[in-house]
Symmetry: C2
């Protein structure tokens, strides 16, 4: 009996032309039937933004005889997922993968990341999802060393099923394949950015700012994604979109809110 290939939606936030998504597509086509819907331009740091006050365009960029259908979208990564599921597929894919991001989405970066927002959006819609990121911001980053790991993580996800309400945030250290020590399930390190604005003046004398900042990790836990990455491991963090701090509810109930 022929087993049906899984239908896999591929997206990212660096744009449909980025080498990272090309690497991801090349792995996914060995696993399943692939549809690509990705932003027509870089959309990094877009968080979970969606386009509600302007129009969205969707352009088919693959040819009739190409093995994989590809669409570029004028919107955010989250828009891409919504359009793919509702307008192109008209059904849920078996998996959504996002990335491979050029740069880290570990620790607090998960909150700002368009790559992870696409995965989270898929999760909200009940689609198993994984975001992949490589700790190398270079446009010409080498994705070859991580391809076998991407394949293994994807196959395990398809086989084991993800717990409900959870997507995976996978980050790869910038190492050669044989230098990577393995894959670790981690928690998100408690870190933040010490922001610094680079204040400049326009040629016309008006002040403007560039946002810059230094990543500060004071979380010394050896179960964090940052620890794993610094020590040569691939980090896998299960990410949830129920943001409720359930453990705090009891404490808040002691406040005098209803005097």
């Amino acid at each position: 009996m022929k087993q049906e290939k899984p239908l896999i939606l591929v997206t990212n936030d660096d744009g449909i032309l980025a080498p990272g998504i090309r690497a991801l597509i090349s792995v996914m086509e060995t696993i399943g039937e692939v549809l690509v819907v990705a932003p027509d331009k870089p959309q990094s740091a877009m968080g979970h933004a969606i386009t509600i006050n302007s129009t969205l365009y969707l352009d088919k960029i693959s040819g009739e005889n190409d093995p994989i259908a590809e669409y570029s979208c004028s919107g955010t990564p989250v828009d891409c997922v919504k359009l793919a599921v509702n307008e192109i597929l008209k059904r849920k894919p078996d998996l959504c993968v996002s990335g491979v991001n050029h740069g880290s989405n570990s620790s607090i970066n998960v909150i700002y990341s368009g790559t992870m927002s696409a995965a989270v959006e898929a999760g909200i819609e009940g689609i198993p999802a994984i975001g992949f990121s490589l700790l190398d911001y270079d446009w010409n980053a080498d994705f070859e060393p991580i391809k076998s790991f991407i394949k293994r993580i994807t196959l395990e996800t398809l086989e084991n099923k993800l717990p409900k309400g959870i997507v995976l945030n996978v980050n790869f250290p910038k190492l050669k394949e044989n230098e990577i020590k393995g894959i670790k399930i981690c928690r998100q390190a408690k870190a933040y950015y010490a922001q610094k604005f680079d204040k400049r003046q326009t040629p016309f004398g008006k002040d403007y700012y560039w946002l810059t900042g230094k990543f500060v990790n004071e979380d010394k836990g050896e179960d964090t994604d940052e620890w794993a990455l610094e020590n040569g491991y691939i980090s896998v963090v299960p990410v949830q979109f129920d943001l409720t701090a359930h453990h705090a509810i009891q404490q808040l109930n002691t406040w005098n809110l209803n005097e």
Copy 2:
């Protein structure tokens, strides 16, 4: 001995001219010293977007003798918080309040919300923070009925301190003051949007889309924010930015990721 007034940063995502932020400012000036830094245009549904690939402008719009300093910012709500803390105040305020949003940020809306992202950004930076939203999308919504509740919640937050790593997501039902039954600490309802795209054609024959959708709540729990709001209560959800699904780590460790 004179007690120092708390320093309160006010922001939003509907833009600095929105009636919702005006209502919030009017309450906050009865409590503390106020600084306003808000987007110069509506930034709804921007999620946790930040501006890294373009410049940011900050314009002081209050006069020298105005009691409250107000700045409009060309960026997202998160940019506003970062600029306020790092460039204007050069220290952490005692509280950051965001809103009052014109429309709901309950349940899954928290993920898409610029209002809540500003509050979450403050939380990441170690500043106690509250996002306020009214279930009325009308620009001319009536904020009078909720002012006394905003004040009470703010004073309780300043007095009791928030647990670390948590900000508050407060939503108000669209009711008269005497119809509001009270304030309930809740969890985020597990809901989603059933998306529908309104497909149209430009005058030049090209397809484009508007994102629309219907909010679907299949969570029947009576401890959710949706239940509270539907039953005449103000909902208060403690929101965390550690997105780790800690309860899933053990299960993921049974996968064969390191064969």
